[in-house]
């Protein structure tokens, strides 16, 4: 079976010379949900920005569903790989929620009724249909996060890359988001510092440190190894332990 995503030897340096990715190798199967863990500055967000071509690597390659990411396949890749940004304010820039959700599919060429149907369906999927006519800057943090998710679901992506989806949400908001994500049948790569969130959503965890993948194992197994966690500045919340 063709992997949903294949990354080989990916390297990237910022213009100031700082090396953010030092050779990332990763393969993700279709439908898999992978937690991308690691300390601050490990290169997680930088990697995410590569996955739909917002940054271009200095070396290595990214293959999405069998198609290598290059200039000619950029537009196609951006439809297939959806990015949900850390700060929803970066993602929601149109005057109303509905227009924001319409932004992506409209760029894909959808118009009129077809477009409105897609917008409505995407908002329904995150339970935010009632927010359609509101201006995004008047939503609460949790609502913004759901709408940001709807904006990329409207593009019918094959891979969903979420950067810190649960951060800043209240426990109920975090729970709602978890349930929505768990109900989506799309390949997901979830960047997070919230290990219980990772455990609940993603059977597999990949730990990045120093710009490359250093661990790749079942989440439950990783979380039961305090030594491995400590080595990469990861820590379970106080009082949290894995039974067995």
């Amino acid at each position: 079976m063709t992997p949903a995503l294949q990354i080989r030897g990916l390297r990237f340096s910022y213009p100031d010379g700082r090396e953010a990715l030092t050779g990332v190798d990763l393969t993700v199967s279709p439908g898999e949900r992978v937690a991308l863990l690691g300390p601050n500055g490990a290169g997680k967000t930088t990697l995410a920005l590569h996955l739909n071509g917002l940054l271009s690597a200095t070396a290595g390659e990214i293959v999405v569903g069998g198609v290598t990411l290059e200039d000619a396949t950029l537009k196609e890749t951006r439809r297939r790989v959806a990015l949900v940004f850390q700060d929803a304010n970066d993602q929601l820039f149109m005057p109303t929620v509905a227009e924001d959700v319409a932004f992506g599919p409209s760029n894909l060429g959808l118009r009129d009724e077809e477009l409105e149907e897609v917008v409505h369906a995407a908002l329904e999927r995150v339970g935010a249909a009632h927010l359609a006519d509101r201006p995004p800057h008047h939503l609460s943090g949790g609502e913004k996060r759901l709408v940001a998710l709807a904006t990329v679901l409207a593009m019918d992506p094959e891979i969903l890359v979420l950067d810190e989806p649960g951060s800043g949400l209240d426990p109920a908001g975090r729970r709602i988001l978890l349930e929505i994500l768990a109900g989506l049948e799309v390949t997901q790569i979830v960047i997070t510092h919230d290990l219980p969130f990772a455990l609940e959503l993603c059977p597999r965890s990949v730990v990045m440190d120093g710009g490359k993948v250093v661990l790749d194992m079942p989440t439950r197994e990783l979380l039961s190894r305090p030594d491995l966690l400590a080595e990469h500045r990861l820590e379970l919340p106080f009082g949290f332990s894995l039974a067995g």
Partner: protein, 254 residues
């Protein structure tokens, strides 16, 4: 932050004006302002007619006098500036006993003040009865270039966010004992403004990234596009049409 509903300039009501088509409202306001602007100041009766039209629009739009005059305070500086003109104007003088004013200057001051109040008044009616996204949609329907509408939209979207950021920095400064009283204590504020600028710039880059990530190729999408019907146009343009007629008569008889 939080879940406020609309912009401070918007009046929550359900009036015929609130339900009018945005494009027609925007066009009506532009036409009205143009008519007011070209009217010669000495035709005072014309301004009276305009004031009545504006008053009717305010009443129909359920905008209270208090709200109206509070918003109108924004143009006070211009009106005050206009009051200088009679003192410095040349030509025939009007002697008030203790001070002598220029007759030409008085008419000029009246013109500036009346036009400013009427123009701002029309704008207050527009944004009081039309939410910002609808104004933007109206501009788009009127075939204003999409780039300009997009820029206006981004400005509205992010201005509040930037103001919030500045406010938070200000709070953080106050929390650490910064209470400026004198000009030479303004340095941190200037620095905060600089930081805000850099942050806004960086946010611009991130937003652009988010747009590219969703396939942006230079064109902003349209949604729920419904052009106004001739009847809606006629209803909205009745007031400015009357204003235009008044302006023409005023100019011809001047």
């Amino acid at each position: 932050m939080g879940a406020g509903h609309a912009h401070a300039l918007y009046v929550h009501e359900h009036s015929p004006l609130h339900h009018a088509v945005p494009a027609a409202k925007v066009a009506a306001v532009l036409l009205f302002v143009a008519a007011v602007a070209v009217t010669p100041p000495r035709q005072a009766w014309a301004f009276g007619v305009y004031a009545v039209i504006l008053a009717i629009a305010l009443a129909v739009g359920r905008i209270t006098p208090k709200f109206f005059f509070l918003r109108l305070a924004g143009i006070l500086p211009f009106v005050l500036l206009a009051l200088i003109v009679p003192f410095v104007g040349s030509g025939e003088r009007v002697d008030l006993g203790w001070v002598s004013l220029s007759r030409e200057g008085l008419w000029a001051a009246f013109g500036i003040a009346a036009k400013a109040v009427l123009g701002a008044g029309a704008a207050i009616v527009l944004v009081g009865t039309t939410e910002v996204p609808a104004v933007l949609r109206g501009l788009r329907d009127l075939k204003v270039p999409a780039v300009l509408v997009a820029i206006a939209g981004f400005m509205v979207r992010y201005l509040e966010l930037i103001a919030e950021e500045l406010g938070r920095m200000r709070q953080a400064m106050t929390a650490r004992g910064y209470e400026p009283r004198w000009l030479w204590q303004a340095r941190p504020i200037a620095q905060a403004a600089g930081v805000t600028f850099v942050r806004a710039y960086e946010r611009g880059e991130r937003v652009h990234g988010a747009m590219l990530a969703r396939g942006y190729d230079g064109e902003m999408p349209m949604l729920g596009h419904r052009s106004p019907t001739p009847a809606q146009w006629a209803a909205a343009l009745a007031a400015p049409a009357l204003a235009a007629a008044v302006a023409v008569i005023a100019m011809v008889t001047a």
